[in-house]
Amino acid sequence: MRPDLGRITMSNFTRRGLLKTGAVAGAGLAMPTLITSPLAAYTNEPTGGSVTLGFNVPQTGPYADEGADELRAYQLAVEHLNGGGDGGMMNTFSSKALKGNGILGKKVEYVTGDTQTKSDAARASAKSMIEKDGAIMITGGSSSGVAVAVQGLCQEAGVIFMAGLTHSNDTTGKDKKANGFRHFFNGYMSGAALAPVLAKEYGTDRRAYHLTADYTWGWTQQESIQQATEAKGWSTVNNVLTPLATTDFSSYIAPVLNSGADVLVLNHYGGNMVNSLTNAVQFGLRDKQVNGKNFEIVVPLYSELMAKGAGENIKGILGSTNWSWTLGDDGTKAFVKAFGEKYGFPPSNAAQTVYAQTLLYADACERAGTFNPCGIAEALEGFEFDGLGNGPTLYRKEDHQCFKDVLVMKGKDNPTNEYDALEIVEVTPRAQVEYAPDHPMFAGGDLGQCNPGA
Amino acid sequence: MGILEVQNVNKSFGGLKALQNVNLNIEEGTIHAIIGPNGAGKSTLLNCFVGKLVPDTGTVMFNGQSLLGIKPHEINQTGVSRVFQTPEIFTDLSVMENVLIPCFAKRDGAFKMNALNRVRNEVDIQEKAEQMLIDVNMIDKRDMIASSMSRGDKRRLEMAMCLAQDPKLLLLDEPTAGMARADTNNTIDLLSEIQDRRHITMAVIEHDMHVVFSLAQKISVLAQGTVIVEDLPENIKGHPKVQEAYLGGAH
C-alpha cells in the first residue's frame, strides 16, 4: 500500500496539545490511528483545559541577567492572567477583556527556553516549544538578531511572535512579518526623542563623533541618530565602526578628543556599551573642553542593567528607554508594586515590555474569541490602548509596531539607592516619534499574510 | 661505478664540522659497512643520503642521479630505503597494516590510493605483505599493535617495511643494536639471505664487529667526519689508522 502523500501530510508543525486528549488507547501496532489535519484549524490549537505560551529568553551568555528579568515578568504575567496575585497592570489596562481566569477560560501554562543570544539556538529553542510543547505563542529575546530570526520562524510555523527587547528598525521594517508584533521602541524613535533634548541641553551647534557596533542594529541606530541630530543643526565629524568582539575600546576612543568633535555618541549595547562608556570616562573625555564647550557623551539606548554595569560612569549621560519604573502613572505603579513585592526590586524596562506583550496577547485572544493567529493579528492591528505604563499606545496595522511615548533618561548624579541610577529628563510625546510606514529607514519589507499554520 | 657515489661532502652545524670531504663509493649488490667511533658522523652521513639533511657542499649521486635538493619521499621513490636507529614504524597500527602501507606505496607511489576499496580486497597486496612478514619471521604477530612489541621486533618490522618496497639501496642504522645474541644472528642470516636472493645493495652502520665482519663485503671507517680508510674487511682488521681512531691516538 502506498498512501497518498497528500493525505499522510498531517501537519506542518505537530501539536501535542491536540494529541494529548485525542489519544486512542490500546491501538495496536498493526493499525496505527492517524489523526487527520482538518481537526485543527491552526498550529497547536489548544484542546484541553490549558494553553501553553513559550518564553524564549537568553539564559546563558552576556544577556542572561536581562533574560532572567524578562522571565520574572513573564511569570508574573502568567500569575496575573490565571487570577493570582493582585492582578498588576490588568487592573489599569484600558481593555477589560481579561478576567483573571486564564485566556478564553483556559489556564495559562508556560515553557521556557534559552536563546543563548544566537539566532540558531533561539530558533531551535522556539521550534522545540512549538513542536514538542505545543506552544501557541512565542515571546522574548533580547537582541534584534534573535528577534528577527524567531519572528521569521513563527511566521513559517503559524504562531504569533510577541517580540521582547529588540530595538533595530529592521524588526518592524525590512524584516517585518504578519505574525510578529513589537511593543518595544526602535532606533528611529530613539533618535526622534533624543535629538530635541540634545539640542536643548547641548545646543544646536555641536559636532558629533559616532562609535558604532559593526552590525545591522548598530548601523540602523547610527543612521537614525545622525539624521535626527543633523536635522537639529548638528554636524557629524566621523562614524567609526567597532568590531563586534571588541572588549577594549581605548584605541577607538583615544583619537576622539583631537578630532574636533565635542560630542561622542556610543551606538553600542550591552557589554559593548558598558565597556565603551567606561573607557570613554576613563580617558577623562567628560572633563574636557572642546570648541569652547563641555565635551559630552550620549548613549542612545539605555537599559537599567547596562547602567548598573557602568556604575558611576553614567552620571549625567543622556539616552532613551522604552519605560522606567520611576514613571508616575497608574499602570506603572501597579506593575512596580506587583513586581517589587514578588521579587524585592523594581522591574527593568525589558521586564515591562514583555509583561505588556503577554497581557496584550492574552487580551487579543479574548477579544478575538480565538487562539487563531489570524484572529489575534486582526485584534491587535490598529489596537489603541492605555494603562500599560506607556500612556496611550497604538499597535499600528501597517508594520505591527507600537507607538507610544519614549523616555529620555539621564544618569542620576546622586542616586538614592541602587535601583535609582537613571532619572527621566523628558517624556517625548508619541506624535513626535511617529513616522510613516513607508519611511525609507523601514523600507523593503513586506508583512505578508498572517499564517495560522496547519 | 658504484650505485651510490659520494664526493667531497661537507656538513657543519654551527662551528662543528660533522662531515669533512667525505668520499664514499658503494658498489651495486654489495653490503657496505660504515663503522667508526661515536660522534664520527655516521648517522649524519646517512641523513644526507635520505634527504633529512642537505650537505653544505659536495655531491651525492645515486644511480647516476643527484640526490641533493630533492625531498625525502622523492629520494625514496628512486629506490633508497632506510632502517632507523630508533625504529620508525606506525605504532598505532597493526603489524600487518604497517607492512601493507609500503606495499601500497610501492604500487601507487603518487596520490591515487583508492578511497573506497577495502584493504582486504587487494589480494595481491595482502599476499605480498604476508610474504614480507614470513621473511622476517613475524607472521604470527600480524595482528599485534606495533607499539606493544619488543624493540627487536619493531626493528625487524621496520626492516620488513623497507624490504617491501623492493629498494635498490637499503640503509641500515645499527640494525642489531639492543638485540640479544640469538636475534642478532637471526638478523645477520636474514640480511645475507636477502642479499643473496634479491641482490639488494646495503649500507650498514654498525658497532657490533661480529655483525660487520659477518656481513660486509667492504668497510669504510669514519673518524671525526672523514673517511680514513675504505677497504675489504680482511684489510681493515689490524689497520693502524683504524686502531688509532678507535683507541684515540694522537690527534
Binding site: 499522510i8 501530510t9 498531517m10 501537519s11 506542518n12 505537530t14 494529548k20 485525542g22 489519544a23 486512542v24 488507547a25 501496532l29 496505527p32 490511528t33 489523526i35 546563558t60 542572561a64 533574560g67 532572567a68 515553557v111 527556553g113 539566532s119 531551535a124 521550534k127 522545540s128 513542536e131 514538542k132 510543547d133 537582541s143 538578531g145 528577527v148 530570526a149 511566521q155 559593526d214 552590525y215 545591522t216 565602526l241 563586534l244 499574510q449 499564517n451 | 625525502p72 619521499h73 622523492e74 620508525e88 614504524i89 606506525f90 605504532t91 598505532d92 597494516e97 601493507l100 602501507i101 609500503p102 606505496a105 607511489g109 590510493m113 583508492n114 578511497a115 573506497l116 577495502r118 618496497q165
Partner: protein
C-alpha cells in the same frame, strides 16, 4: 564486491535501525507524564541529531584518522548554510540544488583553507584554521552583510526571485521541499498515551546520515583510510616510504569540509536560515568536543557525542524551576524547595554547568570517550564483539 566484515555490517545495520526507529526510541515517555520533558523525539531535535551526526562523522575523517585538529570547521558549516539559502532565494525551494551547491562551495573553501593551513602541523595548524574561521565569522557578521545579512542571518523573503519556482510575491513564505514533498510535513502515530512524530525532514537527514556514515566506514576501511591513520602515527616513516602525506591530508580535509557543507546545507534545508554564529570559534569548538566526547577515531563515537551535546542543549535548558516543582510536588514543601533549589543550578539557565561537569567526568574516567563507556558496558555484560565494533585503535585515545 566490497565486503565488510561481519562486525562492520552489524554496525551499519545498527545505525540504520536506530535512525529509522528514532521517533520511537527518543520518545520513551508517555505524553503528559512528568518524564515527558526528557523526550527528544520531536522533528527539530531529531533533525539536529542527524545533522550534527553528519558533521561529527565528517570531522572525524580528518581528526580521528589523521590527527589534524581543525579549529575552524564551523566555517564550512556556515558556508554550506549560506550557499543553500542563496539557492532557495535564487533558484528553487527544492533542497537538491541547495545541497549540491553547499557541498561544492564548502569543498572549494576547504580546498583553499586546507591548502594553506596544511603547510603547518600540530597546534600551528589548529591556529591557522581557527584564524580563517574567525575571519570568516567576523566578515559574515559585518562587512559581508549584503551576502550574509549579518547579525540577523540570511532568510528567505517574499520578494526573492526564485527563478524555477517563480516568485510568490505575496502571501506566505514558501517552504523547502523535495519535488513537492515538504520538509516540515510530520505525521503522527498515536499509540495509547504515546505520540510518535514522523517528519519528512528528519528522514531525509537520516538517510543522509546513513549515507555519510557508510561512506566514512568505507574510507576507514580503505587503503586511503589506512594511509590517513599512518599519517597520524608517524609522518617521518611515511616520508621515508616514498609518500608525500600532504595530498592525502588535504583530501581528508576537503572531504570533511564537504561533510560540514552538507550538514550546513541540511540545516538550511530544514530551517531556511543561515546565521553568522554558525561560523564562530565556539561552534568549531563544539564540533571538536562532540568528536572527542564520543570517541575520536571510532566510527560511532562522533555520532554519539553529537547527540549527547545537542540533547543537553535542547532538553536540559528547558527545565525551569516550575517544571522542577511539578516533579517534586509530592514531597513535603521544605524538602521540595530544598531539592529544587539545589537542582536549579544544574538545569534551565544552569545547563552549561551540567555540561561542563559531564565533559570533565567523561574525559577523566573514559579517556576513549563515550565509545569506551559503551565498550566497557558491553564487556561487562559479556556480549562479544558485535555491534559498534571499530578500528583496532578504538580504545587508544586520539591525539
Amino acid at each position: 564486491m566490497n565486503t565488510f566484515s561481519k562486525a562492520d555490517k552489524n554496525t551499519l545495520l545498527f545505525v540504520i535501525i536506530i535512525t529509522m526507529l528514532a521517533p520511537f526510541i527518543l520518545n520513551p515517555f508517555p505524553e503528559g507524564s512528568a518524564m515527558a520533558q526528557f523526550n527528544a523525539g520531536y522533528p527539530d531535535l531529531m533533525q539536529r541529531f542527524a545533522i550534527f551526526g553528519i558533521l561529527a562523522v565528517g570531522f572525524n575523517i580528518l581528526f580521528g584518522l589523521t590527527g589534524y585538529l581543525s579549529f575552524g570547521h564551523a566555517a564550512f558549516l556556515g558556508v554550506g548554510s549560506y550557499s543553500a539559502v542563496w539557492m532557495f532565494k535564487l533558484l528553487s525551494m527544492n533542497i537538491i540544488p541547495a545541497l549540491i551547491l553547499s557541498v561544492i562551495i564548502a569543498g572549494i573553501f576547504a580546498l583553499v583553507i586546507g591548502f594553506i593551513s596544511l603547510r603547518r602541523s600540530g597546534i600551528y595548524f589548529s591556529i591557522l584554521t581557527l584564524a580563517f574561521a574567525q575571519m570568516s565569522f567576523s566578515l559574515a557578521y559585518s562587512v559581508l552583510t549584503p551576502i550574509t545579512n549579518g547579525e540577523t542571518g540570511l532568510q528567505i523573503t517574499l520578494n526573492d526571485p526564485r527563478i524555477l519556482d517563480g516568485g510568490t510575491g505575496a502571501g506566505n513564505l514558501p517552504v523547502t521541499g523535495l519535488f513537492g514533498l515538504e520538509m516540515r510535513n510530520t505525521f503522527t502515530l498515536d499509540l495509547g498515551a504515546w505520540a510518535f512524530q514522523f517528519n519528512v525532514g528528519y528522514y531525509i537527514c537520516a538517510i543522509f546520515l546513513i549515507l555519510a556514515f557508510y561512506l566514512s566506514m568505507r574510507i576507514f576501511r580503505s587503503p586511503f583510510g589506512l594511509m590517513l591513520r599512518a599519517i597520524k602515527t608517524n609522518q617521518t616513516r611515511l616520508n621515508y616510504t616514498g609518500l608525500n602525506s600532504r595530498p592525502y591530508t588535504l583530501a581528508a580535509f576537503v572531504i570533511s569540509g564537504m561533510y560540514a557543507g552538507l550538514a550546513g546545507g541540511l540545516m538550511a534545508a530544514m530551517d531556511p536560515l543561515a546565521g553568522a554564529e554558525r561560523m564562530q570559534w565556539t561552534a568549531s569548538g563544539e564540533i571538536v568536543l562532540m568528536t572527542i566526547l564520543g570517541g575520536a577515531g571510532t566510527l560511532l563515537g562522533p555520532v554519539l557525542g553529537a547527540g549527547f551535546i545537542k540533547y543537553f542543549e535542547n532538553i536540559f535548558s528547558k527545565i525551569n524551576d516550575n517544571v522542577l516543582h511539578t516533579w517534586f510536588s509530592i514531597l513535603p514543601d521544605g524538602l521540595e524547595n530544598a531539592i529544587v533549589w539545589v537542582l536549579h543550578f544544574f538545569v534551565g539557565k544552569g545547563w552549561h554547568l551540567t555540561l561542563g561537569m559531564l565533559f570533565m567526568l567523561v574525559v577523566i574516567f573514559l579517556p576513549g570517550g563515550l565509545m569506551e563507556g559503551a565498550d566497557r558496558i558491553r564487556a561487562r555484560f559479556g556480549r562479544n564483539k558485535g555491534k559498534g565494533e571499530d578500528t583496532p585503535n578504538a580504545t587508544n585515545p586520539a591525539e
